[in-house]
Amino acid sequence: MLSLDFLAGFTIFLLALIMVVSMVPGLLAGLQSSGIDYDAVAYRTGVILVEDPGWPVNPPWEQYDRDHKDEIQRMGLAVSKDTPNILLSTKVERFFENASTEDPFFTEDDYHNKVIFGDYPYSYNISLSSGNDLWQTGDPLPPGYGYIRRVVKIKEPSVAVINESFKDDYTIPNPSDPKWNSTARNFTVRLDFGHLLNSTVSPAYRIDPRIEPVNVTITDFEDYLNETYYDNATLKNVTFQKAEPDSLPVPLRWLSYSEEEPDLYTLHLNGVSEVSHNLTPNEPVNSSISLVLKPAFMAFMGPNSILDIRFNFEDDPPQTNITGIHHYDYNMTNVTCTDLKTGVLEVAIW
């Protein structure tokens, strides 16, 4: 009878033991989900990058310099919240700026706090490739990581190329007329913000100088010279006038015309990209003028402002007969809007 009691007791003990042991995997279930968590973090990071323009938006986060980058709360690359998967090239360039160098614009902490989020110090590798271009930041990939891949399109800035095809439109037809006896010649490029920011144009295709550079390039300048006698003309200065719908145009007085301000604009003459100029170059021009106005330049422009960029030439006697107003608008003849470029953004988290 002793063995019968022992068997019954031992069986009950084993049953209890088995029940306890069977609960252990349930206790460990939370630990098994770490791999899943990486995928979730990668997905969340991908969504922020691809579907969100970031915060703040006015001025946009990509315009903050190193001294103020701590004010950035979230880094998203989308053009706007209404255009998921359409990335803005200026945001992309700032996000990956010097990322592979020893002096990157954004540090690991910045990426953790402004795009990956979470208390855990995740390692990451974020890359964006489009055609032959590749932007990348983060560490080399280990075996086993959370991953998401998003297919995107990248919006690049527009450019107004004023070449010899505009010669008939922008050349004084009868320079001997007394009204042209001045030594000055000027040529204007006009940006009408009310027209450019028209809400009927999707943000994916909109020319918005407040978030993208404005690029004005006058090429074939030799065709605008009075070629019979001269091989160059002197660009005295570049001036700006801002007008509102109910007021007269006023010059931009806050702008320094004597010192270069690369955060606001760059000016290159005759195709020499190594040498930049201030807004009063007083230099002979024989082939090209390239002016790029950065988004920070437009900080004081309202939704209905009109900005005139005026190129002023002065020689005695005049060596160019360029004149007129070129509209920076959606006319494809006036402004070249670059096609959206397909790319792929990959986020790996571990």
Binding site: I18, I36, N85, R149, V344
Partner: protein
């Protein structure tokens, strides 16, 4: 002579049987680590990828530019649609993700029913047992001639559903 030896053997047998059954239960319940909760993650990644690609193919590269998705459907280029779709899906920073397959279908309303037709030729490797994901996008076709789409209303713009089955080979 009658004693309790037979009862003892019966009790031992019952106890051993219970122990074996419970052991088997524990083994089975603790080794099924890959749960249905995990399988949806690769599916979600693939579904997101396919959805992105359809959206981008439905986005012209410039204002009033050509819509790739509409162009392929309009010109009866289902094969090209699938190839372009897969090309976009396979893009990566390093080597292309080569083992993706896809099948494209088109659904549309006729005067009295809803038709679904394959837009791309059948994939020979498709056995219908693959773990596929389904991504869709509504596309607006302009009015015009669509002889390759039976019974579709062509006198006015028409919304059609592009459906792609996507799987890893």
């Amino acid at each position: 002579m009658v004693n309790d030896t037979g009862q003892l053997y019966t009790m031992e047998g019952v106890a051993a049987g219970l122990i074996m059954l419970l052991t088997a239960y524990i083994v089975i319940s603790t080794t099924s680590i890959y749960t249905t909760g995990d399988t949806h993650i690769p599916d979600m990644q693939l579904e997101q990828l396919g959805s992105d690609v359809l959206a981008m193919m439905d986005t012209p590269d410039k204002e009033r530019g050509e819509n790739q998705l509409v162009g392929f459907i309009k010109n009866d280029q289902g094969d090209d649609l699938r190839d372009r779709f897969l090309d976009n899906c396979k893009m990566r920073a390093g080597d292309a993700d080569a083992d993706l397959r896809a099948q494209v279908y088109l659904s549309y309303r006729t005067s009295d029913s809803v038709n679904t037709i394959p837009l791309s030729p059948a994939d020979e490797s498709f056995t219908r047992r693959e773990n596929t994901v389904r991504v869709t996008r509504w596309v607006q076709l302009p009015s015009g001639s669509y002889s390759h789409i039976p019974n579709i209303e062509t006198s006015r713009p028409h919304a059609v559903l592009v459906e792609v089955l996507l799987w890893r080979a």
